[in-house]
């Protein structure tokens, strides 16, 4: 056992830090400090800057524009992006679709779809969940029937994040009808502007708009847009969900959120002092911080797993459970730190996706404080999405503990 970080990795961290400090445009950086989902223009500009440096998709294979960085360096890179609060880029395309395309896509599909992701020109959304298929995803019913050289898609997807800003959707569709549920599923790449697709906004409890219902009514999709082999969609989706084993921990995000809480608490007046001087609040922050440290070291363990190491699957399986819980707790504590304003609705002062157009909002001017309550409400979703935590616990009980 040896726990120190190699000097070369420390140097790499400083290189990334310097790059971000020099290249992240000030106006984007300021907006990204607000706790709303980033808007597409900011994300595209930032993605271009990263890509110019060759850092658009470090975790992809080198021949598709990725890097040969070690898992630790990929982590450090993301960690520094979170530290600087850089805009969150199109994770759907980069983390989910990209690795699947690299592994199972045809050369033509790779050439067509990967470059515009790297340049930030094409955005993707994910069409997995359906109204009656949430945790039980394999029961999905959206169907794609072959008609000449096209699939005809009919059905409905739900919770399609950012579908309204996306150009493409990758969807799980049923191509085989009379087989075991998992066996009839295929992975289809669909131009979201194809006639027959309707997107309907779902406003969420943060008064934000990221979610959509997406309807497919006789949507004709070229058969060449089926990824890999028909009927293998389920295994591709499983590959996609397991490919990045540590991102579900969102530990760097939560580290940044802990620092935000500290920042607010050090400045928030409380009686004759500051909130941070209140021992009960300080203890709550310390407890959160301690758990985030534990989570980060669990991530370190997974990052340093070598082929054939026993027990790493077990550690990976808990990252989503505890990572999502801490993510929400950090956001709730930030709201608590704001005192009275921690219960005030916070529409985006930049005017993006405003649900109630009444111009009301709290008198906050510090960029670190803007959007905190919206984030606190949105984070309620963390223990639901990506496989509800109850499902994750079932997986731990069955596959790790053998119950």
């Amino acid at each position: 056992m040896e726990f120190s970080l190699a000097p070369e990795d420390e140097a790499f961290r400083m290189e990334v830090r310097a790059f971000i400090a020099a290249e992240l445009p000030a106006d984007i950086a300021r907006r990204a400090r607000h706790d709303y989902h980033c808007v597409r223009d900011d994300v595209r500009r930032w993605m271009r800057i990263l890509n110019k440096k060759g850092w658009g998709a470090p975790h992809w294979p080198e021949k598709f524009g990725g890097t040969s960085w070690s898992p630790l360096r990929k982590y450090i890179f993301q960690d520094e992006l979170r530290r600087a609060r850089a805009p969150v880029v199109d994770r759907c395309a980069l983390d989910l679709l990209g690795p699947v395309l690299c592994a199972f896509g045809s050369p033509a599909q790779q050439a067509r779809f990967l470059p515009p992701v790297l340049s930030g020109d094409e955005w993707w959304c994910q069409g997995f969940s359906e109204p009656n298929s949430g945790s039980d995803l394999a029961s999905l019913r959206t169907r794609a029937d072959l008609d000449g050289d096209h699939y005809v898609v009919n059905g409905q997807k739900i919770w399609t994040s950012e579908a309204h800003q996306a150009d493409w959707i990758f969807a799980l569709v049923r191509t085989g009808q009379n087989v075991k549920p998992q066996a009839g599923i295929s992975f289809l790449l669909i131009d979201i502007n194809t006639p027959g697709i309707t997107r309907r906004p779902i406003w969420s409890i943060d008064e934000g708009y990221t979610l959509n219902e997406t309807f497919f009514d006789n949507v004709r999709v070229p058969a060449e847009n089926l990824l890999g082999e028909p009927g293998k969609g389920w295994s591709y989706a499983k590959y996609l969900l397991s490919h990045e084993r540590t991102t579900s921990a969102v530990v760097s995000h939560t580290k940044r959120d802990v620092e935000q809480v500290r920042y607010i608490a050090e400045r928030a007046p409380s009686g004759s002092g500051k909130l941070i001087d209140n021992p009960a609040f300080a203890a709550k922050l310390a407890r959160l911080e301690a758990e985030v440290i534990a989570l980060e070291w669990a991530v370190m363990r997974v990052l340093h797993t070598r082929e054939g190491d026993a027990g790493a699957d077990g550690v990976a399986s808990l990252l989503k459970v505890r990572g999502s819980e801490l993510s929400e707790r950090a956001a709730l504590l930030a709201a608590e730190a704001l005192g009275d304003y921690g219960v005030v609705a916070m529409p985006d002062p930049e005017g993006h996706y405003i649900m109630h157009k009444d111009g009301m909002g709290p008198p906050l001017t510090d960029d670190e404080e803007i959007g905190v309550t919206a984030k606190a409400m949105f984070r309620r979703a963390t223990t639901i999405y990506g496989g509800a935590n109850e499902i994750q616990r079932m997986i731990i009980a069955k596959s790790v503990l053998g119950l």
Binding site: A282, V315, R322, R393
Partner: protein, 382 residues
């Protein structure tokens, strides 16, 4: 970074596990805890012979070249085996404190004798009002002629009833010093007791106790004491991880055999989820132990913060896993002649030893160590 044990560390882990499997079945343990010492001096001789007592000491300090990781390896296995020998008191708390002092004839001889298994030591540092606060020392050292005299009250001195010598911290006008006192000294009073986990400890009262040997003069002992106690923290956290692992596996096996309502208990989802939560706590404890070991053995910006984060997480995890292990066993878990309750008792003691969760959260808050150095200056710069 490398989270795999080296070949030597793995051999050490295997050796200790083999010892526990052979010597520490539940009945054998019961006999030991009812003996006069509450542990086996024969086992202690074995520990010395196999090199475990000096495994966590650098060669420069008279050990075999290891550090906190080696002690953690031993303690984790001891946690699984519910081992009773005073390894923590002598090999961790006392020897690591001594090793952190400057070399000297007395110190070196003491280490040599303890590593050889010939001398049992106990660190008399904690006091009733300290409640785990390392800096709190009220016991007085006063100069008398060309020596020192001690007066005061030390509590929960682990391993004291069987120790040959006590390392006693006491405060003089220049600060805290460390003094060596034979346990048999007529001027000290010792009240021995069993802790809830059947380990032995004692309260010790000093009244004008003359000190022959000064290990660290007043004003110079705190850094070594802090180091020794931080080694104690990582060691008990490692032991808790071994105990949690054993308790989880024992509970898992019980759920798979115990039948109610016509089926084994492992088929009930409420119980599955509880076990998943226990597993999460256990793995996160193991993860943060590595953070503690890194801070202890390597360069650390703020060791106190790292130690306290570790102990806060492990304390609450130890309580949760210990309590739920008994809960999932049901009534049988409450019986004294069944092992699971003894895991709970050890875990309960560790959770509260050297400061519980509250003390360590407070210590974190008073030694803030923000991730990446904090964001205040970033914001100011923008």
């Amino acid at each position: 970074m490398d989270f795999k044990l080296t070949t030597e560390q793995q051999a050490l882990a295997d050796n200790v596990a083999r010892f526990c499997a052979k010597e520490y079945d539940f009945r054998a343990r019961r006999q030991l805890l009812e003996s006069a010492d509450g542990f086996s001096r024969a086992h202690w001789a074995t520990f010395a012979e196999l090199g475990w007592l000096g495994a966590g000491l650098p060669e420069t300090a008279g050990g075999f070249g290891g550090g906190a990781i080696e002690n953690a390896v031993v303690m984790e296995a001891f946690g699984r085996g519910l081992v009773l020998e005073p390894f923590l008191a002598t090999a961790v708390l006392s020897l690591q404190t001594l090793a952190a002092l400057p070399a000297g004839e007395v110190r070196d001889r003491l280490i040599e004798s303890a590593v050889a298994g010939q001398t049992l030591l106990a660190l008399a540092h904690g006091e009733p009002t300290a409640r785990g606060d390392v800096d709190h020392v009220e016991t007085q050292a006063t100069q008398s002629g060309n020596g020192w005299v001690l007066n005061g009250h030390k509590s929960l001195v682990l391993g004291a009833p069987s120790a040959d010598s006590l390392l006693v911290s006491a405060r003089a006008k220049d600060g805290v010093g460390l003094f060596l006192v034979p346990r048999q000294d007529a001027s000290l009073r010792l009240k021995p007791y069993r802790t809830l986990d059947n380990h032995r400890a004692a309260d010790v009262w000093f009244s004008n106790t003359r000190v022959e040997t000064v290990l660290a003069p007043p004003g110079s002992a705190m850094p070594a004491l802090a180091t020794g106690l931080d080694h104690g923290l990582t060691a008990v956290c490692a032991e808790a991880i071994g105990a949690m692992d054993a308790a989880i596996l024992m509970t898992r096996d019980y759920l798979k055999t115990r039948k109610q309502f016509g089926t084994t208990l492992n088929n009930f989802q409420a119980l599955q989820h509880r076990m998943a939560d226990m597993y999460v706590e256990y793995e996160l404890s193991r993860s943060i132990l590595y953070q503690g070991l890194a801070a202890l053995d390597g360069p650390a910006r703020n060791r106190g913060h790292a130690m306290s984060a570790m102990k806060a997480v492990v304390s609450s995890a130890a309580l949760f896993v210990g309590r739920q292990s008994v809960q999932l066993h049901g009534g049988i878990g409450m019986t004294e002649e069944y092992a699971i309750g003894h895991y709970y008792r050890r875990l309960f003691v560790i959770a509260n030893q050297f400061g519980g969760e509250d003390l360590h959260l407070k210590r974190m808050a008073t030694n803030p160590t923000p991730f990446w150095g904090g964001i205040g200056e970033q914001v100011a710069a923008s």
